[in-house]
């Protein structure tokens, strides 16, 4: 982080204030893009911990966001649970499923883990498509609303603040964990799992905890997403977005929290701005950026930025 400790928390306060003020000055359409951007950034931050820091190339992150979103809506509207119990139950379900998936997948490495989680994500989409009235089929669930909290109806810019809270919570927890013993264990498992095991790190447990924790964070983000437009449908939580998330983290700089944020913000904003203008050319350019990043800048944009700053300092 650099600088004196006082500056360090001042930056947090400033960033939080900026994120919280923005919803109240944006136009409705911009506000919609803004809160969806925050959703993507939150997912990118937790996915970066899973892929970039722990080295687990899972493609189930959006699936867990979908499990969180769908479960909370189903519990609210079809099981008549209150908001609090529904949220807790949905997070618990995501945690149990993530534990089962990661427990089963501890033996798989690299691309085999990607395939197992890809198959899991595919199965989820099939279940959502064929779930009848429970999941609303291919059209998904619509026409529900967030219940009032303590008599207050939270919507518009105020609801965007909920997403700000989830994003900052995700980031704060992961930054904290990253600096702990567990965070170093995760990096050790990524870089050389055999050496990590020799140093006394329980490799399987580290992988399971990291997978379950980040997947529950994805579920929390998915829950907030479910009440953006009061609709959830299968394509949002499908494979294509899981790959997009992977690419965001790579382009931004995998293993770096700032990199994940930069990658998600730049790629999501460029999609929102360019796609209506240039259509598929945007996606083509996107693929070229990903290939170029891996070939020429393996540490991503944040690595390029660090190099640039170091060079400027050396010149001074």
């Amino acid at each position: 982080m650099g600088g004196a400790p006082a500056q360090w928390w001042l930056r947090w306060v400033a960033a939080t204030a900026a994120l919280c003020v923005l919803p109240f000055v944006l136009q409705p359409y911009e506000l919609d893009l803004y809160r969806k951007l925050l959703f993507w950034v939150a997912l990118a931050v937790s996915y970066n911990f899973l892929f970039g820091i722990t080295g687990q190339m899972a493609l189930s992150h959006f699936a867990f966001a979908g499990i969180g979103g769908y479960t909370v809506v189903i519990l609210l509207t079809q099981a008549d649970l209150g908001l609090g119990p529904a949220i807790v139950a949905a997070l618990l379900l995501a945690a149990v499923l993530a534990f089962i998936v990661s427990f089963a997948a501890t033996r798989l490495e690299g691309f085999y883990l990607a395939l197992a989680t890809l198959a899991f994500a595919q199965l989820l989409i099939i279940v959502l498509d064929e779930g009848g009235t429970l999941t609303g089929g291919t059209g998904g669930l619509t026409n529900y609303a967030l219940p009032t909290v303590l008599g207050l109806r939270i919507d518009g810019p105020w609801y965007a603040l909920v997403m700000v809270g989830v994003l900052l919570g995700t980031l704060a927890i992961l930054l904290r964990i990253d600096r702990s013993w567990f965070g170093r264990a995760c990096r050790a498992v990524r870089d050389n799992s055999e050496a990590a095991a020799a140093m006394g790190v329980d490799v399987a447990r580290t992988k399971i905890v990291a997978f379950t924790l980040t997947s529950v964070m994805a579920a929390a983000a998915g829950m907030v997403y479910a009440f953006f437009d009061n609709t959830v449908n299968p394509p949002v939580f499908g494979i294509e977005n899981a790959f997009l998330l992977l690419f965001m983290v790579i382009v931004g700089g995998s293993g770096s929290h700032a990199g994940a944020i930069v990658g998600a913000v730049l790629l999501k904003m460029s999609q929102d701005i360019l796609e209506p203008v240039v259509g598929h050319y945007h996606a083509l350019g996107f693929g070229i950026v990903v290939v170029a990043a891996i070939l020429f800048q393996p540490k991503g944009l944040i690595g390029a930025w660090d190099n640039f700053r170091r060079r400027m300092k050396a010149r001074r």
């Binding site: 691309f111 198959a119 790959f243 690419f247 070939l295």
Partner: protein, 293 residues
Amino acid sequence: MTDLLELLLSASASGCIYGLMALAYLLILRPTGIVNFAVGEWAMIGAFATVILSMKLGLPSVLAIPGAALVLAVLGWLTEWSVVRPLVVRGAGHLAPILVLLGMLVIYHQAMLLYFGGDQEPLDGPFGFRRVELGPLAGTPQSFFIIVATVAVFGAVWLFFERTVWGKSFEAVAINRRAAALMGINLRLVTALAFAGGAAVAGLAGLLDAPRGSVEVNMALPLAIQGFSALVIGGVHRVEGAILGGIILAFAEDLTRRYAPIPSGLALGVTPTLLIVFLLVRPTGLLRAKAAG
């Protein structure tokens, strides 16, 4: 009974397509350790190349099909040369080539989408649509053609690996890269040939599959996923595993769709379920590596 036989014939044809896709993965995976998800796109490009060569340029199938395979071999070689080799030379991590090929997948997909649009193009099989009966077996001529062509491809690959020095050098690289290099095997050439061969086989799978449905950009991802599932089922160590996995996967899919009392949408779950079960229960696949290697 005739119904079942007809189903088995078309399932065998599907199994051959999956087997060819699995072989495309395997040819690249064995000597290089790289899982190339872009083979699905190569299959789609192979189908489009055949559309151009046979329908637009009017070449006969006997020229169009090898021509398309050649185009794909060049594309595979170019891909290896342009994005994979720089990473290998630099000594980047083992995940980097896999990720860069995922990026190439996006480039192929979007470039084809921009050029051909999302429409479906028809592609006629070389033997038309007249129903063929061979003893108790009956089906489309394309089904028979797929099976014959797949047997030929697998036979050629088997001969290459078992009977030629080149094939042996592939296997040597697969077993121990460093030792193979020290024995004077040209790793670069083996890698380049692996990509060219894998791309050609993927292209063949795509152009053989297309006449049963249509040629469209979105045919790529299902082929990529089914090919890999077949590879995991059969095992990544043996060429025979690819076709065995393909046949098992296709039979499981088609028999479930036809006889299981579940909605057809849920039958789509057969492939991911089988993939998960095999990854967890038998990650080495059905066929193990030869000898104690």
